[in-house]
Structures are given as C-alpha cells and as structure tokens.
C-alpha cells in the first residue's frame, strides 16, 4: 500500500537483523559508571558525617 520501502528491503546487509533482539545489551560500562558514582557519593557522605561527629 505505502510507497515506503519496508525495513528489510532498505537495509543493505540484512544479516544480523533478527539476532539483535535476543541478545542482552552489553552494560559493563554502565555498570562500572553507576558503581563509581555510587562509591563517590557514599565516600563523600561518610566523610562529612565523620567530620560532623568529631567536631
């Protein structure tokens, strides 16, 4: 009906098309960033808390 070509037709090399949806995305970098940020927040919070308790 439409003049738009379907996705399958438009992709030049349609080799990996169906494979990608089953695979888990690689979140290693995200995981590392989240944990580094979390550690930074906790360390800052604990240092301020210790400063408060000892003053």
């Amino acid at each position: 009906m439409s003049n738009q070509p379907s996705v399958k037709q438009s992709s030049a090399h349609g080799v990996n098309e169906s494979k990608q949806t089953d695979e888990e995305p690689n979140l290693k970098g995200t995981f590392a960033s989240v944990m580094i940020l979390g550690a930074f927040i906790i360390v800052s919070w604990i240092s301020v808390f210790i400063l408060y308790m000892y003053r």
Binding site: L27, T30, F31, V34, G38, I41, F49, Y52, R55
Partner: protein
C-alpha cells in the same frame, strides 16, 4: 518484566543505600531528638528586651550551673552584642572552659544574620522574630572565629567575634 543482571545489582545497591541514609536520619531525628537550630520559638524583633534572655544584662556569657553555660547573642547589622565587660566596653571575646556544656541562644533585631563558630558544628541562621539555639560541648581548646555567613548588607564581613576555649 525482564531486568538485566547488572540492573538488579545497581537497583539493590541504590535502594539499599537510600534505606541506610533514611535510617540514620530517622535515628537522628526521632531517637536523638535532633532539630533545626530555629524551631518555632518566637520573639518580637521590635522589642527583644522584653524577653528574659535578651535583656541588656543577660547578653553574653552566663554561667547557669556546674560546668554549664548559656551565651545570649543579639545580632544586628553589623555586630554581635555579647554584653558589656566590667569597664563598660562591648565584649568581643568569650572564654569558655573546655568540655563545658554550652547553649548558644541568638536572635536578630533587623535582617537575617548567620551565627557560625568556624571549625565547629555551631552554625545557625538567625531570623527576625525567631530564637535560634544550639547546645554543644566544645572539646578542643583554641581560638575560634564567630562570623556571620548570611549576607546581611555592606558591612557583613566586619561582623565577627571570638570564642576562646581554654584548658580549665
């Protein structure tokens, strides 16, 4: 709903730390009774002398018990009124023995001022119409600067006093 293994870890970690912080906050507030320095105790800013603690003769350091002191402070642009010494000149330095229990009570007659004893936890905002108080024990001998850290006008940087904690 499908969650990635890593997502489960950081969600648990995030919610866990939130719970820890809330529990610490709750213990401080409900068990230890921590409250903000200004907690709804009001005063007429136009007539602070009517209040027992802010009469001319009550200002400054007062010994109220064995090793227990009260410091009444009247802030105005741009000075802290800490009473007068024996010679009748304004007090600029307060001396408190180490380890004594001290309550600072302060208010302002004009605009918002600050009252911070640099290097200690004593740090409060003084608002016209409210009395701020902070109870503490000063364990480290030394000379501390009392200063105003709320912008109150052109002479704000001149607004200071000295607290001396000495070995008894």
């Amino acid at each position: 709903m499908h969650l990635h293994k890593y997502e489960k870890i950081w969600l648990t970690f995030g919610i866990g730390s939130l719970l820890v912080f809330l529990i610490v906050l709750g213990i401080g507030a409900f068990y230890q009774g921590t409250q903000p320095p200004s907690c709804l105790v009001t005063i007429d800013p136009q007539n602070v002398q009517a209040h027992e603690s802010f009469k001319e003769e009550s200002l400054g350091l007062q010994k109220v018990g064995e090793n227990e002191y009260v410091v009444n402070v009247l802030a105005s642009a741009f000075q802290y009124n800490l009473g007068k010494d024996d010679k009748g000149s304004p007090v600029r330095t307060i001396r408190i023995p180490k380890g004594a229990n001290v309550t600072f009570q302060a208010t302002t007659t004009d605009v918002v001022h600050g009252f911070q004893i640099a290097g200690t936890n004593v740090n409060m905002m003084l608002e016209p119409g409210y009395i701020s108080d902070f109870e503490t024990t000063l364990d480290n001998p030394g000379e501390y600067t009392i200063l105003c850290n709320e912008y109150c006008g052109i002479g704000q940087h001149t607004m200071s006093a000295v607290l001396e904690v000495y070995e008894p």
